[in-house]
């Protein structure tokens, strides 16, 4: 390793020792502010929640395997389908994207860390505490049972007297704050920490989509936070924001929720688009076709995403003017999305395709997302959607987008960057089994749901009667879910086995073009011995890295810190106090203030 050339500054205890290794032990992980280790923490946590959400999905499918099944009670089913949605969207897919933002983005832009390393650790702890807090409700009187969309006025203290909804509000407040803080961090990082010559139009697509998604997060989460605060006030202090008897309106929740909820869909899918926009060129051995258009279409999708929320509300009765406007705007999204699909195919066209597992998952995304996108066009048409909304047709649609899109994309990222993160390869044979199992499983699970929905099966029902013709579709879906689950187990076996193999990956095993592949695998704590000077969009394919200037480069690596954990812990205590009592709230406030004080006056270097 060339670390000897670089001199890394850090006080004793700094995790980045001058020798280029990490301190060991659990404490070093708890206090880490290193973007790569935080990325790994995000990955492990999100994988755990992916498994929890997957078990919830299995319970749902087993309950619905046949008509009038009694495996789950109505109450249990409603909690589980609510938590399946919340967990998969906010605690599995989003943080797994965040794992890649953390690990990969600084490497792709030639930086040594994110702009605010301690804030980065703080984001992680907020996400973890929010997720654990919300899931603890299963053991503390019952999880929320109102759907992830939690429509008012079902969530009022009259109709949901238990604490499930309170856990939902408070847990998502924590996790949401973590997302906003992380998004700000990545915006500042991508704007300010790009290596010399790494102009915006040379950014790898994954970094571009991280940038776009970060803006989506800071714009979309506040309306959601506001609506949950309204709800909290309605439930705890007797306000009437959503109560028509007092001049409120339950539709207000729907507007605020979907102004968040629709951009959230793009928060979930754009990182996956970014991943495969890096993977497909690598395994096609050809640069991304129409780079500027792929970038602009990503930005346009995000922009349009804020103007289409009421397409979730066509049946609410907003009138023909609103429904026409939202119908038309929603259709427009098909254009930039279609452009991306065509550009990916054109990238492969004329290439020399290597079907590594990462490539299989990327191609799988393109193939599946087309199906989800086309059913999306079907219900952008408001009159058609009046038949489709709240049926299994919609469940089919968004699982093709979120499973066929986001999750396949994230697995593409896992297989692609695993050698970079660990220095080891995931087994390609098991990878292929994983991919084909998942591909078969997801299609068996979700394709029949199109028919079930069009033939009249509503969603969010814990049971369905025999005789309406739903039995066959549901049985096939359940079989598909079992296959999908087994495929995930194959992945876990692959993960564990591969971690025991020798670290033979080397710097650039896939012959990829972007900066993260210019350094060792796993990367040293300080990432780059010399800040790279970039002269091309695909630097590793075009000798696009300027030779380092002579002499040593001086830089500082941040110290580890436990203060982010203290502040996040204080906020967790405040949230718990909202359910337990004022003294705990005040204690939480005290812990938070002490944490902020300690954080502020902690020596950085």
């Amino acid at each position: 390793m060339a670390t000897a050339e670089a001199r890394v500054h850090g006080s004793p205890g700094a995790e980045a020792k001058s020798g280029g290794t990490y301190a060991g032990g659990i404490w070093s992980w708890i206090t880490t502010v290193d973007h790569k280790r935080i990325g790994i923490l995000y990955f492990v946590s999100s994988l755990a929640f992916f498994l929890i959400g997957g078990i919830e999905a299995m319970l749902i499918r087993l309950q619905l395997a046949g008509p009038e099944n009694t495996l789950l009670s109505a109450q249990a089913y409603n909690q589980i389908f609510t938590m399946h949605g919340v967990t998969m969207l906010l605690f599995a897919v989003m943080p797994m994207s965040a794992a890649f933002f953390n690990f990969i983005v600084p490497l792709q832009i030639g930086a040594r860390d994110v702009a605010f390393p301690r804030l980065n650790a703080f984001s992680y702890w907020l996400f973890l505490f929010g997720a654990l807090f919300l899931n603890s409700s299963f053991f503390l009187g019952g999880a929320p049972d109102v759907g992830w969309f939690a429509y008012a006025n079902l969530t009022s203290s009259q109709f949901s007297p238990g604490h499930g909804v309170d856990f939902y509000i408070l847990g998502l407040a924590l996790a949401g704050a973590g997302s906003i803080v992380a998004a700000l961090n990545f915006i500042v990082t991508i704007i300010n920490l790009r290596a010399p010559g790494m102009t915006f139009m040379r950014l790898p697509l994954f970094t571009w989509m991280t940038f776009v998604v970060s803006f989506l997060i800071i714009l979309a989460f506040p309306p959601f936070t506001i609506s949950t605060v309204f709800l909290l006030f309605d439930r705890m202090f007797g306000t009437l924001f959503f109560e028509p008897a007092g001049g409120g309106d339950p539709r207000l929740w729907q507007h605020l929720f979907w102004i968040f909820g629709h951009p959230e869909v793009y928060i979930l899918i754009l990182p996956a688009f970014g991943i495969i926009s890096d993977v497909i060129p690598t395994f096609s051995r050809k640069p991304l076709f129409g780079y500027p258009v792929v970038v602009y279409s990503g930005v346009l999708i995000a922009f349009l995403g804020f103007g289409v929320w009421a397409h979730h509300m066509f049946s609410v009765g907003l009138g023909p003017v609103a429904n026409s406007a939202f119908s038309g705007l929603t259709m427009l999204i098909a254009i930039p999305t279609g452009v991306k699909i065509f550009n990916w195919i054109a990238t492969m066209w004329g290439g020399s395709l290597r079907f590594r597992t990462a490539m299989l998952f990327s191609i799988g995304l393109v193939a599946m997302f087309v199906i989800g996108g086309l059913s999306g066009v079907m219900h952008s048409s408001a009159p058609a959607d009046l038949q489709q909304t709240d049926t299994y047709f919609v469940v089919a649609h968004f699982h093709y987008v979120l499973f066929g899109g986001s999750i396949l994309g994230l697995f593409a990222g896992v297989y692609y960057w695993f050698p970079k993160v660990t220095g080891r390869f995931l087994n390609e044979r098991l990878g292929a089994v994983h991919f084909w199992g998942m591909f078969l499983g997801l299609n068996l699970t979700f394709f029949p749901m199109h028919f079930a929905g069009l033939h009249g099966q509503p969603r969010r029902t814990f049971t369905y009667p025999a005789g309406l013709g739903f039995e066959g579709f549901n049985l096939v879906s359940t079989i598909g879910a079992v296959i999908t689950f087994l495929a995930v187990l194959v992945f876990l076996v692959n993960l564990v086995r591969s971690l025991r193999t020798a670290a033979t990956a080397g710097a650039n095993p896939w012959e990829a073009s972007t900066l993260e592949w210019s350094i060792g695998s796993p990367p040293p704590p300080h990432n780059f011995d010399h800040t790279p000077g970039v002269t091309s969009r695909d630097p590793l394919w075009h000798d696009g890295i300027a030779p380092p200037p002579p002499g040593e480069e001086e830089f500082h690596m941040p110290n580890p810190s436990f203060w982010p954990l203290v502040v996040a812990g204080g906020l967790l205590l405040i949230m718990a106090g909202a359910l337990v009592g004022l003294p705990l709230v005040l204690f939480g406030v005290a812990v938070t203030l002490v944490g902020i004080y300690g954080w502020s006056f902690e020596p950085i270097h």
């Binding site: 109505a74 109450q75 429509y151 079902l154 109709f159 028509p244 008897a245 309106d249 339950p250 539709r251 096609s284 051995r285 050809k286 129409g290 780079y291 009765g317 023909p320 429904n323 119908s327 259709m331 427009l332 098909a334 254009i335 452009v339 065509f342 195919i345 054109a346 004329g350 290439g351 020399s352 395709l353 290597r354 299989l360 193939a367 087309v370 086309l374 066009v377 079907m378 408001a382 009159p383 058609a384 959607d385 009046l386 038949q387 909304t389 049926t391 084909w436 299609n443 028919f451 069009l454 009249g456 509503p458 969010r460 814990f462 369905y464 005789g467 309406l468 013709g469 066959g472 096939v476």
Partner: protein
Amino acid sequence: MTDGRPRYPGHRRILVFATLAIALVAAACGGDFPQSSLRPQSDVAREIDTLFRGIFWWAMGVLVVVEGALIVAIIRFRERPGADKPKPVHGNTALEIGWTLAPAIILIFIGVPTMITLWRIDRPPPSSDVRVEVIGHQWWWEFNYPDLGVRTANELHLPVGRTADLRLKTADVIHSFWFPQVSGKRDLVPGTENQLWFTPDSVGMYPGQCAEFCGTSHALMGMRLFVDTPEEFDRWVAREASQQEAGAEPRPSDDPSVLAGREIFFGAGGCISCHAIRGTTAAGILGPDLTHVGSRSTIAAGTLDNTPDKLVIWINEPHEVKPGNLMLDMGLSDEQARQVAAYLLSLE
């Protein structure tokens, strides 16, 4: 894995997928689907169905072209030993403009019919031949016909060929009114009144159910639509609008269990605190109006057939049948429940 040997997606696997897909589609199109949105039985449902089928075929066209291009690329451009490194093409402006415009043009063919249909169905009803007030409750439906003096629950009757003008309200949370074969959904939102209209064009029975998650037993908030001939409908209205005889003296011809059931209904059973039987002292408003419950085909919002046995189950185990609902388990013996059931079924 770094030996450079490419892996091909097996053609056999693609074949298996294709066979499975075709089998699925075949299974999905045949069969009996009484609640299907693809079997329209009204003017509005037919308009939506026609619109959907148009969009569906455009989508199929796009699907075949895009997936086809993807499959061709996968097969044609897989890595071959000894081949040159591919040409680094960075883009092609004409092509990219082309595939930006192509979806835009297709969207015109989808958007224009969408707007036409939308403005035709999302407007006040062309006429209101039968007015019905629909009130959603956790978890049953109240149907009032203000012009006809009818108040019933869970089973909606409409005359064929006449435009139904529905006003939708809710007594508690948001519900969504949905009979797929005659109309799309329309929500019942607290604090507002929504409107929905359609003209059923075929006589028959059509199941429907609540389509917006509304709490614990959302899944069990079913209903039935009976589209009757005008004569049948008039007969139904005449019967439903009539009252039961108030406090009629028992006649010797009366079934004794009916009489006993009535005794319990108005007394120890406590039924009248929630249920009404027009013409009697039972005037509760929390539960469905039972004036003519004996003539309904189902009970508990489409959950159970209206038979003596099922009524006994419903009366004695209301929370087993429908978790979380407001009906109280009054602790009646099986014998008493059987008598109440007999009384209810006598209310035709």
